[in-house]
C-alpha cells in the first residue's frame, strides 16, 4: 500500500531535477548570487596575499550558506505555489521519504553551485582553493547545512515572511557547521597538517549525522499541520 521509501524519495529527486532543467530558476539564481557575492567581497576586501589566504575560507562559506538559503527558499516555494506540497503529503509515502527526496535535490543544487565557486575564488583571490581536502570539507559542510535547511524551509514555507524567516532561524542552528567548515578550510589553505584540522572534520561528520537523525524524526510532525 505504501510506496517504498527510496522509490518515493528518488521520484521527488527526479521531479526536482526535471523542473530545474526546464526552468533553471534555482541554480541560475544561486549561481548569479554566488558570483556577485564573491566579486563584492573581492573588491571590498582589498587584501594582501597573506590576508587573502586567511579570509578566503570565511568568504567561501558565507557565500555558500547564503546561496543555499536562496536555493532552499526557491525549492520550497516551488512546492507551495500551486499547493503541491499538499499533493505530496496526501500521497501514500513516508514523510521521511519526502524529506530525503527534497534534501538530495537541495544538496545537489548547492554543490552544483559551490564547486564552480572554488574556480572563481581561485582566480579572484589567487589562492589555490581547488584541492581534494577543500572539496571534501565543502561536500560535508554543505550537507550539514542542507540537512537543517531542508527541514526549516519546509517549516517556514507555510509562513508569510518565509524569505526573511528562513535565514533568521537557520543561521543560528547551522553556526556550528559554519564554524567547523571555516576553521577546517582555513587550516587546509594554510597547509596545516591533517592532525590540526581533523577534529573540525570530525565535528562536521558528527553534526551532519545528529542533524540528519533529528530532521528525519521531526519532519513528519513539522509538516503535519
Amino acid at each position: 500500500m505504501k510506496t517504498p521509501f527510496f522509490k518515493a524519495a528518488l521520484s521527488i529527486v527526479r521531479k526536482d531535477f526535471l523542473a530545474e532543467l526546464r526552468s533553471r530558476e534555482l541554480v541560475g539564481a544561486m549561481g548569479l548570487f554566488v558570483l556577485l557575492s564573491v566579486l563584492v567581497f573581492s573588491f571590498a576586501l582589498e587584501l594582501n596575499r597573506q590576508a587573502r589566504a586567511e579570509t578566503v575560507g570565511g568568504v567561501l562559506w558565507v557565500t555558500v550558506v547564503f546561496a543555499s538559503i536562496l536555493g532552499l527558499n526557491r525549492s520550497m516555494a516551488m512546492e507551495r505555489e500551486q499547493g503541491n506540497f499538499e499533493a505530496l503529503l496526501i500521497a501514500p509515502i513516508d514523510r521521511a521519504a519526502l524529506y530525503v527526496g527534497k534534501l538530495i535535490g537541495n544538496y545537489v543544487f548547492t554543490v552544483a553551485v559551490s564547486l564552480p565557486l572554488l574556480v572563481v575564488m581561485t582566480v579572484l583571490y589567487n589562492v589555490a582553493v581547488i584541492t581534494p581536502e577543500v572539496i571534501g570539507v565543502l561536500l560535508l559542510g554543505a550537507f550539514g547545512m542542507t540537512v537543517v535547511g531542508t527541514l526549516l524551509a519546509a517549516m517556514t514555507v507555510q509562513t508569510r515572511a518565509r524569505e526573511a524567516l528562513l535565514p533568521i532561524i537557520m543561521l543560528p542552528i547551522v553556526l556550528p557547521v559554519l564554524l567547523a567548515a571555516v576553521r577546517a578550510t582555513n587550516a587546509i589553505l594554510s597547509r596545516a597538517p591533517l592532525a590540526q584540522w581533523s577534529d573540525w572534520l570530525l565535528i562536521l561528520v558528527v553534526l551532519a549525522v545528529i542533524y540528519l537523525v533529528m530532521c528525519l524524526l521531526t519532519f513528519g510532525f513539522i509538516v503535519e499541520e
Binding site: A8, R22, M78, Q82, I90, P92, I93, E224, E225
Partner: protein, 237 residues
C-alpha cells in the same frame, strides 16, 4: 458505522489553539454517495475535508475511511483518496505527462503510461500531454488536476472549491468530469459556495454552521431557503 459507510466520523473535534473549528461532528458517508459540504466561510468545511484527507490531525474523535482509521492507518487511506482543490497541486514547470508520471510513481502504480493516456483522454488533454503546464489555461490546469486526482483510481474524490477562478465553460466541463467520476462509483465530497451547482451535483447536502452540522440529508428542493435558515445568508453563487 453502517454496513455500507465508506467514511465514518465520530465525535470529531478540531481546535486551533483555543478556537474551536469543528465541534463534535458525527457523519456516515456511504460508498458511491455524492455529498456537497456547504457553509459560510469559517464554518469548518475545509478543515473537515483536510482531516478526512489526513492533511491535518483531529484534536479528538475518530475518522475511518474504508475501515482504516486515521492517523494510524493514514497510508492506506491516502491511497484511497483523490484531492482536487482550488489550487491545482501540479507543477507548472513540468508537462502534463511528466506531472502525472511523477504522481503515478508516488502512488507506486503499475502500467503508469497507460493510466496517463487514459487520464489525459478522459479530461480532453490528450493532445496537450507533452506541453508544459504553465502554458495551459486555468480551466485546462484544473482538468489536469482532476486527471491527477483520479490517476490512482481512488474510492473517494475530495473537491475543495475546485470551481474557483473557472469561467462558465470550464466549470461545465468540470461538472461533467465530477458527474462522470460519480457514475464510476466514486464517493464524492464537494465543497462549494454555489448552491445551484451543489444541488445539481450532489444527492446529499451537509450544511455546517459554526463547526456543527446544521443540516444533513437529501438535497432539498428549497436548498437556498434551507441554507439561509441555517447559515443566515445565501451565497453569491
Amino acid at each position: 458505522m453502517t454496513d455500507t459507510a465508506l467514511i465514518t466520523i465520530r465525535k470529531l473535534v478540531k481546535t486551533y489553539g483555543a478556537l474551536p473549528v469543528l465541534r463534535s461532528i458525527d457523519l456516515d458517508i456511504t460508498r458511491g454517495e455524492s455529498v456537497a459540504l456547504l457553509g459560510a466561510n469559517g464554518s469548518g468545511k475545509s478543515t473537515l475535508l483536510r482531516l478526512v484527507a489526513g492533511l491535518s490531525k483531529a484534536t479528538s474523535g475518530e475518522i475511518r475511511v474504508g475501515g482504516w482509521e486515521l492517523p494510524r492507518e493514514a497510508h492506506a487511506i491516502r491511497a484511497q483518496i483523490g484531492l482536487v482543490a482550488h489550487r491545482t497541486l501540479i507543477y507548472d514547470n513540468l508537462t502534463a505527462r511528466e506531472n502525472l508520471r511523477f504522481f503515478g510513481r508516488l502512488y507506486s502504480l503499475q502500467d503508469i503510461d497507460a493510466r496517463i493516456e487514459r487520464g489525459l483522454a478522459r479530461v480532453g488533454l490528450a493532445k496537450r500531454g507533452g506541453d508544459v503546464v504553465r502554458t495551459f489555461s486555468r480551466g485546462m490546469q484544473q482538468r489536469l488536476a482532476i486527471a491527477r486526482a483520479l490517476l490512482h483510481d481512488p474510492a473517494v474524490l475530495l473537491l475543495d472549491e475546485p470551481y474557483t477562478g473557472l469561467d462558465v465553460s470550464a466549470a461545465e466541463i468540470l461538472d461533467d468530469l465530477v458527474l462522470h467520476s460519480h457514475t464510476e462509483g466514486r464517493t464524492i465530497l464537494l465543497i462549494t459556495h454555489e448552491l445551484e451547482r451543489a444541488a445539481r451535483l450532489a444527492g446529499r447536502v451537509i450544511i455546517l454552521s459554526k463547526g456543527k452540522v446544521g443540516y444533513d440529508g437529501a438535497t432539498p428542493d428549497d436548498l437556498p431557503a434551507r441554507y439561509r435558515q441555517i447559515v443566515g445568508t445565501v451565497s453569491a453563487g
